[in-house]
Symmetry: D2
């Protein structure tokens, strides 16, 4: 396998840079999906694109039509075929690719997230994507969370299976998931049924916890269940000097909601969180504000704690409307579940990587915060008796995730591909003890 | 008439001191009503006591049973006959007394309020009621707004009519009203129908605006319409350390309500007011408070403005319950209407008092703030085409109304009686140009 | 004079359309000032441009450098000479033009405001500026308050004086004021001393109160004193899931401030107002917001009431910073004073317009709300014994002021010029009884 | 030992009932201290009473003079000698009693709290103290937390030492601590230096965690560090209708503080708590409230977390004063520290109780919430190398602690005395293997 990885290394960097230079926001990954799909097609994967891959109605946080149309149009200009666009139009991006060896063996599923972020990428020459000219050509969109790397890793693993199919058994399902940011895409893929009968589920992330290249964490704990809400208040505008009594103040509804949300009582059963991350209200100094918008999230150590927070939050948001006689709309735009990696999987990963030249160190478990919608897939697999884990792949980071100068060491790519393929080799091959 | 006043002056002080020493709170004026009634009975007035005088269901802000029973029991001990108590039991105090001369003439109504306040009277020797030993014998109850004087003035006027009945025409209705404080009693008397067909209505107050004894204001403007609300929030108690999530925080509902009430938008049509005058919540430091109580008032320059404030207030109070998942009860415990004195009456009063030795100066109009439930009666009279006014009778005040050391100059009593009786003489006599 | 107006009418519409098509925001009126100035130069006015016309340090609410540079650059491209730009650079726009007849007579000052608004003008064909192709060529800037008309009227009056100088006496001062919107420019011109020794001051507005073309209000009442504040809160960002305790929440500071600002106690001495017209805070759902921005205004019926509101507002804004451990910056970006038109001026205006064919009806006084910084000039004139008024010129309006489709009837332009010139003729001419 | 306990059982119930019938609030335990002291005096203990026992200046939450004087006077009436009162006057209650065997051995300290609560005891016949006539004779004061039992247990243990002194070694210190409720007395005793050189420290509580009589928990975990604050806001009163602008609203300061206190950010390092348990503000509906009072507590899993909460709380309380232009006073009226029982002590307790007929079951550790100021003493002992624990003694409870009907099974008293004395026997005797 070392030879496969060795030969692939340059290719991995090229793929990564291609995806990096053309980032697309969640549910607008039209060209990204197409490019992934065209390669997998060549490698004889069965493809399920867009509406075939996800339960369209289970998506949340879909961008507005203007944004969707803009990216569809651009994708078309970049050569995405109509037959593909047709399956994706309206924000139904992402794809599922399956490969069946025809031989009995485990059903292994792998998830790679493909969306980018609404961040304006740095053009500073100290930022390698800028100095080496593969930075984003899409204004105010950037792969600032490493999903360009994740796509690349998925393609590397898919190529391995294609090239080593004669030695493999069982079945493989690749989920190239849209809209991980904000926890919006995983549930829609899960609801389509892809995880039924899966024996082993693997996902992962580069970075997050700073570890050197070559270090891999086999499992993580600490991801919180979460719910993301967008809230709009609609009131009445009126002139603040002439007839203030005619106004219904949406800005005050939002302000009341914000203040009271942070006061949701602490819970004796465990960790909870709440944040109003954005508030925008009003258009001018002398007008009673008639519109307000808020981005809110709640989290909990368990599903129950997250629901406790979400229920309180919704009641408070509604009460804040009544407080100022406005109307409110609450939209759930994302969610994640609590995630528990299967600890039984740890030794398997350690064994698989024992002889790797790329993986220097496998840590059993690391602790992170934050939230991940792969949790929906993992919980589905575990519910049906399968095992699932979420790994971290070490890389030095000069800037944190979601920063305009975020970048990672491309050396992490072969490490991750090696980890996934060694696991696959160990779990789903009938040619043991090949020299590596 | 000067002789009548002259002879009565000492009697007025005696009456005032008797009433002062036995103050009763609104709707508990059992002994007060009885004492007034017994005198009027002697003077051949037709009496309507308690439930005969007011629409019992239209009362608001009735004290609790413990308090009612306490004062009924005390009244009994002080000799109030059972036949009287029977008409008043349960907080139906006050009386209406009518005198019909049998001769055609105007129907004149006069209103005198009779209740005291929950204030502990000063026992300092610089306080004349204390040093001259007529201060309150009822602990924590005090005539601190001069209604002891008002009762006295009413009796003086009633005695005048009795003694001068041969010279008078028309009909007279005296309303000795309970529970003026908090705006609780006037509406109940008004709804009983006493003001139908009234041609002239007179009420008044001693003090308020500081003017010297001998100065009378013929009309006042500036009284605001008002609504008084009591609010109770009911939540759930829980241990603040052990399980804060189980609490439903009534203290926070009350706090949210308070803060938002003051933010009711100012109104372009005129003056509005709001106040939370009292807030009591919680029983101990480590318990999530499950009960809260608030005393609230709103005011408006017009009925519409007052309703605007009351409507907003009620919505906010309810929203504050929803905000913290508590229940709330809103009770209207009092109200007043906007009052507009009939300006046509000013010259009549000036003329009537022109030759008085007691009334030195009649001011056409003065401006006050605050609220008065005589407004209900005045509006009723004016609605039917009658004329109404609310006068002020000057007296020096060392301490403001509602102060534990409030007192007034007893010299104001003959001035007020002289004013009322001269008006009556002018309006309702057939013996003109008597020497005075 | 009718002939002068008649001949000028078409010219007025042309001027108006030129100014309409190139609107500039307050303190960026580089081309506007230049165009006005070049005409006045031809008519032998003495010019004081930019820093010569205003006290630069007394300006408030100056746009940021990017915006200033952008408009200066555009002005240059449109041919504004360097010698002019030099006097205006850095947001010192506007000009004062004086004309001295050399003959003894009154000193008359006239003020015309010249700035536009940050509004994107409608391109709908029902909008006359669009269908007749004189709509704004500056994106997101629009003359939506009629100041294009005001400039035009000022030029018309200036031309009249130039052409009739042989018949006139006294002295004339034209203040073409920048940045009236937000109350930012008048004080800076006033402080330069232009109003010292002025006998008569005239300003005015088209529209505001809907009256037909031909109706003029000689005075207005009801403008409130006002103060406009911008507030920025600076806190600390932190991840809302990982370490919420490290955040200092600027969004909550702004929300607390907003809620408490509306609760500034009503004042018994008169009308007060407060509004938070805009609030923007936070950048993403899962980040504790570290920045917040608010646009606030307070108003009062008098200077004292306005100060009462502003003092309370500032204290509350600071307290809201301390409440959440953030820092705040308060910037005063505009203000207006209470304005009282000199009522003695009413009959003069009525007399002057009596024989006009354009002015059909002069109303003595009308009542408006809102605020105007011409108040600074008027108060200065009145303080030194002069008389001042603010007139309204009727025009039908299909959309209110500040609306993207705002437009007015150009027929109001000759009406306004006729009003001003007839006043001038009446006040400052030595050839009486000319046939008109 | 069983015989000692057997013979003492009836006496324990008598003592308990005597103390139950005369409860005294924290820092007013004049008669309680005297009664304890007089018994210990008989048993040859060295006594340190009142100011001798505690650092007077380190007390917090001292009652007002009226209350202190009331209880001192009552104590005098009940026979407390002047020499004793003199040492205790002004709220310096409690005592320390030491017994030195003169033989080398461990220094064992035991703490028993002696104060009662401001609760009106039930007089219902289903409440055993009422039906068996030993309920509180002090109106609105009640032993509702079992400290009457604690005193009794302490006396039982003291008597054991007195009677078995010939078999014992080392030194014994009994701390009969005042004002445990609210965490007010322990620090003052600790600061007097009693814990220096203590090898073993034992404290405990009956009930808390419901366990049957005979079950003992050797250690507890979960007590939070805490700080208790009283807050007073002082503003200005004014008439809410006449001049609301003249008021400075203390009720609103308290309300703002309450709402914002619950919003102190959750802390990633562990459990935190906050509660406003009581709020009282304002005196009348139509007066802007000038006074407000709040009882507040914060808690944290560690000292640092508790300090984090207390620091934020104080800043918020001050900001709420500034918000409404009031003044505030913050008084720390109690505190507790985090408590960690020495786990090494568990087996010692289990061994000591192995053969007891009274102690049926020793649980190693139980988990509770709440806070205890014995933590100050325990931390002091552990800081100097000693070991300390806090035990729980099971009893069935029909009503929770602090309830007007709280009562416990008196059978728990001999269980607790047996536990303490067996530990003492095991640790500090030279006569081993006595038959029991």
């Amino acid at each position: 396998m070392s030879e496969f990885i060795h030969n692939l290394t340059q290719q991995l960097a090229q793929w990564r840079r291609m995806f990096h230079s053309y980032p697309e926001l969640g549910f607008t990954e039209y060209l990204t999906t197409y490019r992934i799909g065209k390669m997998l097609e060549e490698w004889n994967y069965s493809l399920f694109v867009g509406k075939e891959a996800l339960d369209s109605d289970a998506r949340v946080g879909i961008p507005n039509t203007t944004l969707l149309t803009h990216f569809e149009q651009k994708a078309k200009e970049h050569g995405v075929e109509d037959s593909w666009l047709c399956k994706m139009t309206g924000g139904n991006t992402g794809l599922v690719a399956t490969f069946d060896t025809g031989r009995p063996g485990k059903h292994i599923a792998l998830r790679f997230d493909i969306d980018a972020l609404p961040i304006n990428e740095s053009t500073h020459q100290s930022h390698i994507p800028a100095s080496e000219a593969f930075n984003s050509i899409n204004s105010r969109v950037m792969h600032a969370c490493g999903h360009d790397g994740h796509i690349t890793i998925g393609l590397g693993v898919a190529k391995y299976i294609y090239e080593h199919q004669s030695q493999l058994v069982g079945k493989f399902t690749f989920l190239f998931q849209p809209a991980e940011e904000g926890g919006r895409g995983a549930l829609a893929m899960t609801k389509k049924g892809w995880l039924a009968g899966v024996d082993r589920f693997y996902a992962g992330h580069i970075g997050i916890k700073e570890m050197p290249v070559g270090t891999v964490a086999a499992t993580v704990k600490g991801f919180l269940a979460s719910t993301k809400l967008n809230v709009r208040y609609h009131g009445n505008a009126s002139h603040a000097g002439i007839n203030p009594e005619a106004g219904k103040n949406a800005l005050l509804s939002a302000s009341s909601a914000a203040i009271h949300l942070y006061g949701i009582p602490r819970h004796s059963a465990g960790t909870t969180r709440v944040n109003v991350g954005k508030l925008e209200a009003g258009i001018g100094r002398n007008i009673i504000p008639d519109e307000a918008f808020m981005e809110i999230e709640v989290r909990g150590e368990t599903k129950e704690l997250n629901n406790y927070m979400a229920d309180h939050a919704k009641r408070i948001i509604n009460a804040a409307a009544e407080m100022h006689d406005t109307k409110c709309e609450i939209t759930t735009v994302g969610s994640t579940e609590k995630m528990s990696c299967s600890s039984s999987i740890i030794n398997d990963i350690k064994n698989a990587c024992e002889k790797s030249k790329y993986v220097k160190n496998v840590i059993s478990e690391t602790s992170v915060s934050g939230s991940e919608d792969a949790s929906f897939m993992m919980n589905e697999v575990q519910k049906h008796g399968g095992q699932a884990t979420y790994m971290l792949f070490g890389t030095k980071l000069d800037y944190p995730h979601h920063h305009p100068s975020f970048d990672f060491q491309e050396e992490v790519l072969p490490v991750a591909v090696d980890t996934f393929t060694r696991i696959i080799e160990q779990e789903n091959t009938y040619v043991l003890n090949r020299g590596r």
